[in-house]
């Protein structure tokens, strides 16, 4: 009986993950190779051309998503690292207060936060409307429906997921190591570059993983902030699935997106070194 315990404990989750994670992936793989339409039904024809068609038709949005996801991730890294650094090394006893303040947005629904951004950035809203009224901005100035609005929205929405892992990595850096470097006549810049930065890389790695994947696949920011000319792949997959009922195309696109993300993560992991990956994965 005791030897069976772990299996019995794991059984319900196994079943859930098998039926609702593994089987659906297989179902989606199968659908992506079928032809037909929603009215007459779909039949398996091993039509790999679905992939070529889907990628051909939506390569613009696919590339745009990777670009926006990448830009947002870089922006989050640049904006977030100093914040993580400040909280880890300079905030003293107020560390948890700062972390709490950074996490405040999570108490508001993701959708609602993005809509509030729409509010704030709207052409004649409280921010730009006021500035335009004072004559500080030209009357046709707008941010909504631009690349900047979408990338900015993604950056805003996922920033805490970049700051937290970097903070965790920095928090573990022993201040004495930094002092030692300075005692050995390293300048502050050199101590940072040669000691602190390398030690924080696992956190950077985890942060990039936690933000790049959801930012690239996110349909909400593009839908709410992007207007019609900034459609991302997430919006296309949603439309193909839910409006056009073109399940094969949508499935092929979903798989393509996942494959591209996996390859990206793999290349990135190789570039940063496997030890860092294992370390990041172990946390």
């Amino acid at each position: 009986m005791r030897r069976l315990t772990p299996y019995l404990l794991a059984l319900p989750s196994w079943m859930w993950l098998a039926i609702f994670l593994v089987v659906p992936m297989v179902a989606m793989a199968s659908v992506s190779l079928q032809t037909g339409n929603a009215i007459d039904g779909f039949a398996m024809t091993f039509s790999f051309s679905n992939y070529a068609d889907a990628i051909g038709r939506y390569s613009t949005q696919l590339v745009r998503s990777l670009l926006y996801g990448g830009l947002a991730t870089v922006a989050m890294l640049v904006i977030g690292y100093p914040v993580a650094y400040f909280i880890a090394f300079k905030a003293g006893a107020r560390k948890s207060t700062y972390l709490f303040l950074l996490l405040l947005p999570f108490f508001v629904s993701f959708v609602l936060r993005t809509i509030s951004w729409n509010f704030l950035l709207s052409d004649n809203g409280i921010l730009f409307g006021t500035l335009k009224g004072w004559g500080l901005l030209p009357a046709d100035f707008h941010v909504l429906a631009t690349t900047f609005a979408v990338v900015g929205g993604l950056t805003y929405n996922f920033l805490p997921f970049m700051i937290l892992p970097i903070y965790v990595a920095l928090e573990r850096v022993d201040p004495r190591v930094v002092e030692a470097a300075q005692d050995l006549y390293a300048t502050r810049a050199a101590a940072f570059r040669r000691v602190v930065l390398p030690l924080s890389l696992p956190g950077v790695f985890a942060g990039v993983l936690m933000t790049f994947v959801p930012a690239t696949a996110d349909p909400i920011n593009a839908a709410i902030l992007g207007g019609t000319s900034n459609t991302m792949i997430g919006n296309i997959i949603q439309t193909e699935y839910l409006t056009n009922l073109d399940y094969p195309t949508a499935s092929a696109l979903s798989f393509t997106l996942m494959a591209v993300l996996l390859v990206g993560i793999f290349i990135y992991a190789r570039a940063l070194g496997t030890e860092n990956v294992l370390e990041a994965a172990a946390r």
């Binding site: 315990t5 299996y7 859930w16 179902a27 914040v83 399940y247």
Partner: protein, 261 residues
């Protein structure tokens, strides 16, 4: 060292700027819940009113959506916490065949983009002719929250001294008695944290839900649907109330944790 001081001060100011940036949409949301708007759009400030608080439940399909979200979050959290805690215990306490594969599955469930998860679930439900309703939403919410509960519980389980449980058993406690009186109280903070995470993930989810909802509408889905016609102030009020309750729970939790230690 004066340069270093100035640098620190600049960093301090910068951190506050980021915090203000992150919080500004929340401030806007709360503020416009009090906006006495006359026109259809709620984008310019027109004066203070408490009207939307009084008329909070006047938009019946919005109220239904909020109610659906709460019920779905509650049910999926209970299921997730029960089966996730079981798996967390198995992974943290035992060695068994398939442990590596299980860890991989748990990791895969966290790292699959929500969009792909939603799309694949819809593929399954379409292939199997499963009608989409609140049940399919609950199934998918359990799926994406499960790994988070497993990971939080496991982290707590591995810090637990196994000799405590052995002592209980040596003193004649049954397996269930040991679990209820020794193991569960010790891992409870992890279980509760996992549960709160699952609830928060569920009530906030738009992407996965949008694939598997059928004709059932949740709070986030209703909001996105209303973007084109204009978000009514009641949404701001509901968002404000959820925000306040969440913050109160978090602060209460932190205060309680500080008292205990």
């Amino acid at each position: 060292m004066r340069g270093a001081r100035a640098g620190d001060r600049l960093l301090h100011l910068y951190t506050w700027l980021i915090i203000v940036w992150l919080s500004s949409p929340i401030a806007v949301m709360i503020l416009f819940g009090f906006n006495d708007k006359q026109s259809k759009s709620n984008t310019t400030w027109q004066g203070f009113t408490l009207r939307w608080y009084a008329e909070l439940f006047d938009i019946s399909d919005l109220t239904v959506a909020l109610y659906n979200s709460l019920v779905i979050a509650l049910v999926s959290t209970v299921i997730t916490v029960v089966i996730g805690t079981m798996l967390g215990l198995a992974l943290g306490r035992h060695r068994f065949r398939g442990q590596g594969a299980t860890n991989f599955l748990v990791f895969a469930a966290i790292s699959t983009p929500e969009l792909v998860m939603g799309a694949s679930l819809l593929s399954l439900f379409v292939s199997g002719n499963v009608p989409r309703d609140a049940n399919t939403i609950i199934i998918s919410h359990v799926l994406f929250s499960l790994s988070f509960v497993v990971v939080t519980v496991r982290a707590r389980v591995v810090t637990l001294d196994p000799s405590l449980e052995e002592a209980a058993r040596d003193l004649g406690a049954t397996a269930w008695g040991t679990f209820r009186q020794v193991t569960l109280p010790a891992i409870l903070p992890g279980v509760l944290a996992g549960g709160m995470l699952a609830f928060a993930l569920s009530i906030d989810d738009y992407v996965v839900t949008s694939f598997v909802n059928g004709s059932t509408v949740t709070f986030p889905l209703w909001i996105v649907g209303a973007v084109k016609t204009g978000i009514p102030p009641q949404v701001n009020v509901m968002g404000t109330l959820i925000f306040c309750i969440g913050v109160l729970i978090a602060v209460g939790n932190a205060v309680a944790a500080r008292r205990r230690s």
